[in-house]
């Protein structure tokens, strides 16, 4: 097998899929991996609490990308979790000795190479291990510019951290990788599923309706009795969910727009190119919202909450429009006959 080549990505899971498949002879970009997995979403989940705040997700839950991308592309992964930590480490060593590149799910907090300010408790980070040198593991962490190293004891702690989304030492590697992708059928199938997720979600806290729900919720929060204390923290929380958690900007909107653009080129489709441009514009509105929200949170701006909420409603309307365009494309002659 050829020498492993590190490539930086915006998001850990799509980055791992892209790097791993490319390494095994199926070149695929990060946006393409993300898009083919139909991973874009929006969800406001009030009962999943993070530091007392609701979970706000801009993509499908952890492990979705690996599962969906491999299913759609016909890739087969072997994966294994461990009860016994020693065995989990030994299994990793064995695979590395065979010359494999191994994917791991880990906690972020216990990885010493993360800058202190980026260390929070999130158990569903993904990274690749491509070798070992003395006590150090050689790691290709997709969100970093260059390969990094991690001592064995720290890696073990990161793999076996307990709690929500606990990895239980999960490791995975591909056992079968096809050598090409039939874009003409896979892209429409992926977009069709994503259209369902965003435009036809069964609950009003999901999809484009969920974005409006968040806007309303923002206003409700501003009327709470403890708003003075809670509102700044809540705004900061939203911004972090949108920008900090490896999203490639604007809560994965730019990443998905890049996928639409790449697909437009592959399929020579003007409709997809237009949808990419429209989603980019929606992404720009998200960035505008984040900047304004951060300033309000720090009391460096006196923009009122109503205006802030309107920005979100505009994001929702723009995205609804993008999915309407894509739905039209799915029903056009360009797609018919190619569907999966």
């Amino acid at each position: 097998m050829s020498e492993f080549c590190h490539r930086q990505a915006a998001h850990c899971e799509s980055g791992v899929v892209s790097a791993m498949l490319s390494h095994h002879g199926l070149p695929i970009s990060e946006p393409m991996a993300f898009g083919l997995a139909s991973a874009l979403s929006f969800a406001y989940l009030p009962f999943v609490k993070i530091g007392g705040m609701p979970l706000i997700a801009y993509r499908m839950p952890p492990r979705w990308i690996i599962r969906k991308a491999s299913k759609r592309l016909g890739v087969r992964f072997a994966s294994k979790t461990f009860r016994n930590q020693k065995r989990g480490m030994a299994a990793l060593d064995r695979l590395l000795d065979e010359g494999r590149v191994v994917g791991l799910q880990t906690s972020v907090f216990w990885l010493p190479y993360f800058p202190d300010e980026m260390r929070f408790h999130f158990n569903a980070h993904n990274l690749l291990v491509y070798g070992r040198e003395g006590d150090d593991y050689l790691i290709s962490d997709p969100v970093f510019e260059a390969p990094v190293r991690c001592p064995a004891a720290d890696l073990q702690r990161a793999r076996f951290a307990k709690g929500a989304l606990a990895a239980k030492g999960l490791l995975y590697y591909p056992v079968h990788v096809p050598q090409e992708i039939d874009y003409a059928s896979k892209v429409p199938a992926a977009i069709r599923l994503n259209e369902k997720i965003m435009a036809h979600a069964p609950f009003r806290v999901l999809g484009v309706r969920g974005i409006r729900y968040l806007a309303d919720n923002l206003i409700r929060t501003s009327r709470r009795r403890d708003a003075r204390k809670r509102l700044p923290l809540y705004l900061a929380h939203i911004v972090r969910m949108q920008e900090e958690i490896g999203t490639g900007g604007a809560g994965f909107r730019f990443l998905y727009a890049s996928f639409l653009q790449e697909s437009a080129e592959k399929l020579d489709s003007q409709a997809l190119a237009d949808a990419a441009t429209a989603l980019t514009a929606a992404g720009d509105r998200w960035r505008e919202f984040a900047l304004a929200a951060a300033r309000v949170s720090r009391k460096r701006s006196d923009m009122n909450i109503e205006t802030l909420a309107d920005l979100l409603r505009d994001c929702s309307a723009r995205e609804a429009e993008v999915w309407a365009q894509l739905r039209q494309w799915l029903h056009s002659d360009e797609v018919k006959g190619n569907a999966d």
Binding site: A10, D116, E117, E145
Partner: protein, 139 residues
């Protein structure tokens, strides 16, 4: 987002000198990955979250110093955890974790329980049972 609009706010960045990849379009409208040194909006939000944990820790430290809570609560916030997180990481129910904030109960805990907290917090038992020096963060 245009390529030249990709923020490079290195000064107050929370990336610790690293650069993150974001996706932006060039002049021809073509998407590329662009490295960013930091963004004001993001770093402000991150800082606020970190400061919140530091405030909680300092408040807990004072209370622990006055015998009103156990060192466990101080260590918990020091590791950027809250009660649900610590409960998950140690496998001890939330209401029990809260009870263990009582200094006299905490002092009587068997080593077996202390060991579980120590492991979840990445400390040894001796450090766990001691109140750290003020504002220490031994990561």
């Amino acid at each position: 987002m245009q390529r030249r609009e990709v923020p490079q706010d290195a000064e107050r960045s929370t990336y610790g000198g690293h650069r993150k990849l974001v996706y932006a379009v060039d002049d021809a409208g073509h998407y590329t990955g662009v490295q960013s040194q930091g963004w004001e909006a993001e770093s402000e939000a991150t800082r606020l979250a970190i400061e919140e944990f530091e405030t909680l820790r300092d408040e807990a430290w004072l209370r622990a110093h006055n015998g009103l809570t156990s060192p466990l609560e101080v260590h918990m916030y020091d590791r950027r955890m809250d009660v649900p997180l610590l409960a998950g990481a140690s496998g001890i129910w939330r209401w029990r974790v809260r009870r263990h904030f009582d200094p006299s109960r905490f002092a009587r805990l068997p080593r077996r329980i202390l060991q579980r907290y120590a492991e979840a917090l990445g400390l040894d038992v001796a450090t766990l049972t001691r109140l750290p020096a003020r504002r220490s963060r031994d990561l």
